[in-house]
Point group: none
DNA sequence: CATGAATGAGAGTTCATTCAT
DNA sequence: GATGAATGAACTCTCATTCAT
């Protein structure tokens, strides 16, 4: 049995090596501009080797998609230390933006790209996606317990908040802020986010 | 003279046929994954024929982009009849959504798709895009004259409003509302938009 | 009959117009880099029209080839005024070089290019080519009558002279003088030609 | 280790096969009129395969060019045994012609064909070309020490000699000796070369 | 397990040429 | 007689993928 296990472990290691490389390239250049060859070169193996660990390029894509969600959720789920739910919600927003601009390509595949989304309700990613969404809704509800968002449907508000965050992030990521001069763009994002937080405070 | 006219009409028709096909494909597969060959096959002509009507792939994209903006601006600029600026702003939002879901592919091209954006500040599209953006900013400012949005920077608020609208629209268009069951999705959009308007009223 | 004649005349005129255009383009860019389209544009007709006057691109090539020979021979055959045959021979060399560097592309097709040379001994070009060659041989022979080239076979010498001229010209035309710095190249040609004439004088 | 060696040998063989094919085609049709596809077809491989052995079309040409120069220089540089410089020069000429008609396609590539010449002064070919040229100049100078070519600039004379040799060779190679009947052509070349040597002796 | 070798399919683009009008 | 429209065939080059070794 030990042999089998070691083999399996080796296999996992190799998969990880490939994914790490792919990850790096992907984050740098985006999915379409990364070739199997690029990945192979990066890990100093032949392209053919990749196919021993992944069926095809799509499978790598899915794996990365999942990794994206994993990282995203790590960003979202480490807010427990903050007591006040509203503060926590604000922090969650900050984290969202942080993630977006630190991993723009990941944000892209998660929330923007026209992609063969695995819709299988039992899939790993689906669960991760839902978990994050759930957390938001729960948090908004919690905020209501401390006097915020009175009279508002928490589910609807959650979607509205998400939409706003996504709106800002995706306009930036997909280069739709060119109406503003280059230097002002990030400032505009910041001001806009600040205003958003402030509005949330008053309602 | 009739001949010349007919020829010109034929030419326009062909251009339109190509554009329609291209449009469909672009939105389905993204700019990079559509080839001139694809388009040619779709309209059952040879690839070379495309080049009789468009200089290159980019020109096709630009043509679509421009048409999209034209229709969009028609939607945005017919609000003059409404006296009250705030009412007009609300109406503008409605129109925005209307346009989005009536011409999802155009919306996609304008605000979501990654593509070689013509940044020429003198280009037709740029002007159209800026016009729409200007109109929003002016409208927000006008609202302030009638007692709305006190103390808020109108430019920042304009971007925030746009972001929120875009967030909702693009999440819907790019199939990121799957956490909600199918039947609830449009309802959620509606509720969310209504809540947004309501919030804007109170700030 | 008058109609037929006019038609024929018109036809010739059009052929000439095309050839003139082709000539210009050809001299500027070389055979391979001139397209039927280029020619058509230059004369402001449609590409299809060209085909009413020439079977295909090759036929234009042949026509130009012939024109090249015609111009070449004009350069070679206007030496009659010079009495002394040796002086005439020298002048002929000068004319050869003049032609070469004034019509490099023509020189190229005539004497360098790997081309579908029409070898028909009755063809126009053949006759022109031979005429020029004959003239050289006759001239060399004439020189012998005035005491030059004693004891040399005039045919062989003629070929040797031609070879030398062609050697210098074709090395220059096909960019094989790069061992010399740019500014010295034409000077080297000149000096070399001068030395050649001087040698011919002494033998 | 045997495996590695065999693979390397196979690789070299394939490169050679490609080069041979390319060479034939280049000389037959000219650089521009040979396509990677042509070459691929000739060796009955797919076009993509070519790219496994050569970066691009230019690299194929350069490889040939270099090989040509290598052989050429081998012909030129093995004259040391001849003491008398003038005799050596004559021998060099003979070798030049020998090379030309033994490897006409190489000669073509080196001195006639129009192609993207690598002008990099540090390139291997450049050095080889220059070495040969230098040798000629030095040899001519040496001849002057033994009483030849008095009063002539050795550089200019070197170029003139090269031109003459090249003139004869290239007229022959590019089929411009058709004015002579087939059987006389090589005789004419010979006689002409002999006369050239004789002339050099008297000046 | 790993890979070198090979390829089919495809990208954007150009051009000589044809043909119905 | 002239042409607008159309195309087949070609170009260089890249890439995901397969397979014998």
């Amino acid at each position: 049995m030990g042999v089998k296990e070691r083999k399996e472990r080796d296999r996992q290691e190799m998969r990880d090596t490939i994914l790490q490389s792919a990850h790096q390239l992907f984050v740098d250049k985006g999915f379409d501009d990364v070739s199997i060859r690029n990945i192979a070169e990066a890990i100093e193996y032949s392209p053919a080797t990749i196919y021993l660990y992944f069926k095809d390029k799509n499978e790598i894509f899915y794996a990365l998609h999942m990794e994206a969600f994993k990282i995203f959720n790590e960003y979202m789920f480490t807010l427990a230390e903050i007591q006040d739910p509203f503060m926590r919600l604000m922090k969650m927003g900050e984290r969202y933006m942080e993630f977006t601009f630190k991993f723009p390509k990941y944000y892209d595949i998660m929330f923007i790209m026209q992609a063969p989304m695995n819709c299988d309700i039992n899939s790993e990613e689906w669960k991760m996606g839902e978990a994050a969404h759930c957390q938001l809704e729960n948090l908004v509800k919690e905020c209501q317990d401390t006097g915020h968002f009175t009279g508002k449907d928490y589910k609807t508000l959650s979607f509205l908040i998400w939409s706003t965050m996504h709106g800002m992030c995706s306009l930036a990521l997909r280069d739709r802020m060119k109406i503003y001069v280059e230097e002002e763009r990030s400032k505009m994002l910041e001001k806009s986010f600040t205003m958003f937080k402030q509005i949330l405070e008053t309602i």
